[in-house]
Symmetry: C2
């Protein structure tokens, strides 16, 4: 197959036009049109990926298509929203058929998994590949997993394992000379975590459902004590690192937290590493796209069951408390000092 | 004032956080949440601007903020939608306070004019300034100005004047040696057309209203002949040039058109230019962001009155006919040959 440059309209048509499903009007007009069910609020999120900043130039196009959508769906998951549709603005140095075929394969494989429809976008030329996706989802207004929902005494949980994406990044960059060697399988696994993260949609929906049930219970018996009915969850997806992202919940909820760093879930590959690398990866490694969420301790058993039914590890890593700030302790409850701050796209030291 | 680089979260907070209005939840959570009124469909559009491709590096930041939003609102106008909210993904080489202050001034001045609320976004670093906005608007489903709505016999109209943006671009590039000299005022005017286009929102809403009225009339008296009740308009905004954009309407509506090139509205600055420059600018000059729309000839007088009430020139430039393709004629109805095609972001000759 000759990898021919295409013109803008031909490439949109070939790789990004698909039969319309839920949209009232899809790709190919000035706007897409969407009917939002009256029982739902619309959840909207936009994320941008830039070559050299968020991914390496040689990144597999299929994985890149997956990741570009995954990071946006992850924001919907963190809100408890059901993905519905998305737009993509795509800037490329050249429009090569083979690259576009792979990219759209990865993009649509993930989109189809959640019946999330491409409804519009824009293509243009730029020296670096730049992708900006806006994802739309539905969530009942009072079920949304807002960052301001954490309450004193709540448990803090994280899904999956933390830090593998950061370890993979360090490996690619040859960043830490004392990094312990890994097997081929371990390397494949940490690379996949970096390049092909899976948004925790099912978990987000289950937590939103838990929030709805709690509100319904309170509505049925408003005299029940708040400690027994307040199951509303706060959630965030871990894109910039646990410390930075959890801090957003604490700030918005006007509370503090104590986190047991020995309870942070991590892979065997990361467990092989020296302690400083482990801590750096689990505490401040970005790009994990796991969910960090809070929930009343009264639903602890429900969440443990959820972990089983979703076949997804859910680890209880600490507690929300009234004292502002984030305190790290080890399993003997001794304070741990860790100075590394979260990833900031406009500071030079990630 | 020292133009200090800021970190990502500080700059979002300083320049892009404003009090929430219509959104149920705005900037600062994983997603924004929006209640869509049940009588409305949601119109969604995404456009990306890349430095060096869509604007020059020295472009005034305030005008750039305006234009980045304007090109998206222009798509809402072409759909007949009322702007409601937008997200912005912003990639910058550095985050300088002075630039961001100017940029957000221009952005919000236009947003406030239409009560269009910033509800989320993303900021990152990239070697070139790259802006991707997704704009959301509301339109009753059956009032939308779709590209597939043109019918044989309809008049073709354009708003405002065509070609000044392209003339300004040529002037900046020193592109055409035989370009006639312009006064300082004329230059200021064509530069403003390029850098600060105004979306034709009021026109789009009026045309959508005309479409609604026509459908209501048909509903009240279904026996009325179609020629008298079919006032539904097709519309597109002229971003890639009249020929290319009108062709999208023709293709989607499965019809053809004859356009009188002597009827194309243009400025005094453009009228001073040689005929080849005039034609190239009016027929294929992108970046005009005027609306090209079709309407039944039975509402010709209504549209002329609309021009007066909106204080916006509306010029009747041709007719939709059954024969596929676009035919250009002069005012003596003689065929005109013009070979220049529309602007394509992946071809090298705009």
């Amino acid at each position: 197959m000759i990898d021919t440059p295409l013109n803008e309209f031909a490439l949109i048509k070939r790789y990004f036009t698909r039969p319309r499903k839920k949209a009232f009007l899809g790709v190919g007009d000035d706007c897409a049109l969407l009917h939002v069910p009256p029982t739902q609020t619309l959840a909207i999120t936009s994320d941008m990926l830039v070559q050299g900043r968020h991914f390496f130039p040689h990144t597999d196009a299929k994985r890149l298509g997956h990741k570009a959508l995954a990071v946006n769906l992850s924001d919907l998951a963190a809100m408890g929203a059901q993905p519905t549709a998305f737009t993509i603005a795509l800037a490329l140095p050249t429009a090569h058929a083979a690259w576009l075929a792979d990219f759209s394969d990865g993009l649509f494989a993930l989109a189809d998994q959640y019946d999330c429809e491409l409804i519009g976008g824009d293509t243009t030329r730029a020296p670096l590949i730049t992708l900006s996706i806006t994802a739309l989802g539905y969530v009942p207004a009072h079920a949304a997993l807002r960052r301001d929902g954490a309450q004193n005494g709540d448990d803090i949980w994280v899904s999956g394992e933390l830090g593998d994406a950061r370890l993979a990044l360090a490996h690619i960059r040859n960043e830490w000379p004392h990094q312990a060697p890994l097997t081929r399988n371990e390397l494949a696994q940490i690379y996949q975590r970096l390049e092909q993260p899976y948004p925790r949609i099912a978990l987000g929906l289950a937590l939103a459902n838990l929030t709805t049930l709690a509100r319904q219970a309170h509505h049925a018996d408003p005299s029940s004590p708040p400690s027994q009915i307040t199951h509303a969850c706060a959630a965030i997806d871990i894109s910039d690192g646990l410390i930075g992202d959890l801090t957003h919940i604490l700030e918005r909820s006007a509370c503090g937290a104590t986190v047991n760093i020995d309870a942070l879930p991590h892979s065997i590959a990361l467990a092989k590493q020296p302690q400083d690398i482990q801590r750096r990866c689990t505490l401040t490694g970005g790009d994990d796209y796991e969910l960090c969420f809070t929930a009343s301790s009264t639903v602890r058993h429900t969440i443990e069951k959820l972990s089983t039914s979703l076949a997804l590890p859910l680890s209880r890593i600490g507690k929300i408390d009234a004292q502002p700030g984030l305190r790290l302790v080890d399993q003997k409850e001794q304070p741990v000092i860790f100075s590394q701050s979260s990833f900031d796209h406009f500071s030079d030291t990630p």
